[in-house]
């Protein structure tokens, strides 16, 4: 059996080589299919492992609370809110919290000016506790202090990227920038945190929470985010449950009403990201498998041509003693090898493509091919080869020797 396989493989390779260009064009469908699968998988897998690392470094003991309005309510103009009172209530009544801070995003323009330079940045009002919650500390100058909040001082702590965008001096402390028509003095610059998936973590401006509230004017519509970190002994599930109960009471929600807020942990965010990436992989994989199907049909087509071309040869082989399985094997192995060859070339091209993509887009995580995707690509292309090789091979094997010998 092994012997017959070896002979078939040898003769199949000879035949593939004899029609070099034709074989190449035939496998092109498989090459393109496998290359795109591998490119997509390597990029998304690289991204996924990177995100995993990033979130792991964020720590699993912090929570974010945000208001949440279902889409139908948004259409009716209803908006759920988290208010400063909610924050106060949590501070007073919740247990297991190490530090807690509100975050208020600038709701109008997030434009920031320095001299003739203008940039857009994420401007957030927050408190001194932010540095503990977000594990984000200053490299130059100082962070926001409690007194800044009480006196609504116009000061700002900026990220490295903002300094760069505004062409501020190396040490931007004591420079003045304009935010929303008001002048803010820079008191500190944060440590650099780098990019996540091409988004800079350093393009932020922090101002005192109270200052941001006063800048926003209409305070009845204030909707804040609350970030908090847990004390070492606290269990994240317990704290989430506790916060849910407190907030539901505070918002007077009946038991049949849904939460009008969302409590998110870093882990949840990570899972969501993973889900999205998984979905993208599946969808693109599905689309790409159509191209493998088309590639398989191409192989079947050329194998049928090849059987017709070699009808006389098949007749000769049968006359000198080839059995049905000898002929079947020869053509099946030829289809399999053709397809596998395409798979291997596609694998190489796909990996190259993935590496190219992740290298050309700055800040993009480097590509990685998991072993399962190699196995999948080769397994699938082999499967396609066998699947679409069976019909031509069976046609060859079932030829009548006399008819085949007479074929011109």
């Amino acid at each position: 059996m092994f012997f017959a396989l070896f002979e078939s493989a040898r003769s199949a390779l000879a035949s593939i080589y004899a029609h070099g260009l034709r074989s190449f064009l035939t496998t092109l469908g498989i090459v393109i299919g496998v290359a795109s699968v591998i490119a997509v998988v390597s990029v998304t897998q690289g991204m996924s492992s990177f995100i995993g690392d990033t979130f792991a470094s964020l720590g699993t003991n912090s929570l974010t609370i945000q208001s949440y309005t279902p889409f139908e309510d948004q259409m009716k103009g209803i908006r759920a809110r988290l208010t400063p009172e909610d924050l106060e209530m949590i501070e007073r009544r919740a247990e297991g919290i190490a530090s807690i801070t509100p975050i208020l995003y600038a709701n109008r323009s997030s434009q920031i000016k320095y001299g003739s330079q203008t940039a857009f940045s994420q401007i957030m009002g927050t408190t001194y506790a932010y540095q503990d919650v977000a594990q984000s500390y200053t490299q130059i100058g100082r962070f926001l202090a409690q007194t800044d909040n009480l006196t609504r001082r116009r000061i700002a702590v900026i990220g490295e990227k903002v300094r760069e965008n505004l062409s501020l001096p190396e040490n931007p402390v004591n420079e003045y920038v304009e935010i929303g028509g008001e002048w803010f003095k820079i008191v500190g610059m944060l440590e650099e945190r780098g990019d996540i998936m091409g988004f800079s973590q350093d393009d932020i401006v922090l101002v005192p929470y109270a200052t941001m509230v006063s800048l926003q004017g209409n305070q009845t519509r204030t909707d804040i985010q609350i970030q908090l970190s847990l004390s070492d002994s606290a269990d994240i599930e317990d704290v989430s449950r506790q916060l849910t109960t407190l907030l539901r009471n505070a918002h007077d929600l009946r038991s049949d009403e849904d939460d009008d807020f969302r409590i998110q942990t870093a882990e949840q965010l990570m899972e969501e990201f993973d889900q999205i990436i998984g979905m993208v992989t599946v969808v693109i994989g599905g689309i790409v498998s159509i191209s493998l199907l088309v590639g398989g049909i191409g192989i079947m087509n050329i194998m049928l041509v090849s059987v017709t071309e070699r009808t006389r040869e098949i007749g000769i082989c049968k006359a000198i003693g080839a059995k049905r399985h000898h002929i079947l094997m020869q053509f099946l192995i030829e289809a399999l090898l053709l397809s596998l060859l395409g798979g291997i070339i596609g694998l190489a091209i796909g990996f190259g493509l993935g590496t190219l993509i992740s290298n050309t887009i700055p800040g993009f995580p480097s590509a990685s091919i998991p072993l399962w995707s190699i196995a999948l690509a080769l397994g699938f292309s082999g499967f396609v080869g066998v699947l679409f090789g069976i019909l031509p091979a069976a046609k060859a094997a079932n030829l009548d020797p006399i008819d085949a010998l007479r074929y011109e």
Partner: protein, 235 residues
Amino acid sequence: MALIEIKRITKFYEMGSQVVKALDGIDIDVKKNDYLAFIGSSGSGKSTMLNILGCLDKPTTGEYHLNGKNVEALEQNELSEIRNREIGFIFQSFNLLPRANALGNVMQPLIYRNIGFRKRKEMAMRALQRVGLGDRVDHLPNQLSGGQRQRVAIARALVTSPSILLADEPTGNLDSRTTIEIMQLFDELHAEGHTLIVVTHEDEIAQHCHRVVEMKDGKIFNDSTVTGGSAKVTA
């Protein structure tokens, strides 16, 4: 016991509404080391006879014993086995595999017997040397002359040591000088003890044989044994 025993064999083809009787009740025995020619005009049934003798085709009715085995009822794969072991084919148009060299062509039937490469090569080399092509083993068929190609085909037929050599118009595509060479080779093979059956429409070829079977309309018309050995071809 005869090598080939054929009893009341018929072969009918349906051509539309008509039934063509290609063979119509053939009885014939072939003994070991016979040197036999089937002759007849086209349509006489000699090609059908060859196909059935060579186990390429099955008779419609009748019995065929080859080397003691009853072969008329065998299934395709079993017929392949019989062809591989018992029969060496020599065709008019040589029928070599175009992409394999002379050695590869002669080795091919041994693949179906699961013989290892080294042993196969050794056997094929011997067969090629026997037909005088020991120095042309790595030539492709299209690099060989007609006569050389037919010698490769004969080597391929010999390499399996079959019970019978079955030649279908073996010199039909050859010039007269090469025809003489090939027929001399046949005579030698007969002298070495091989059983040869030649299908031809040329009397000169038939004259080499020791027994001439004339066919007409699917029947045996005349079966005569020529005594005194082969005559020379008059070219």
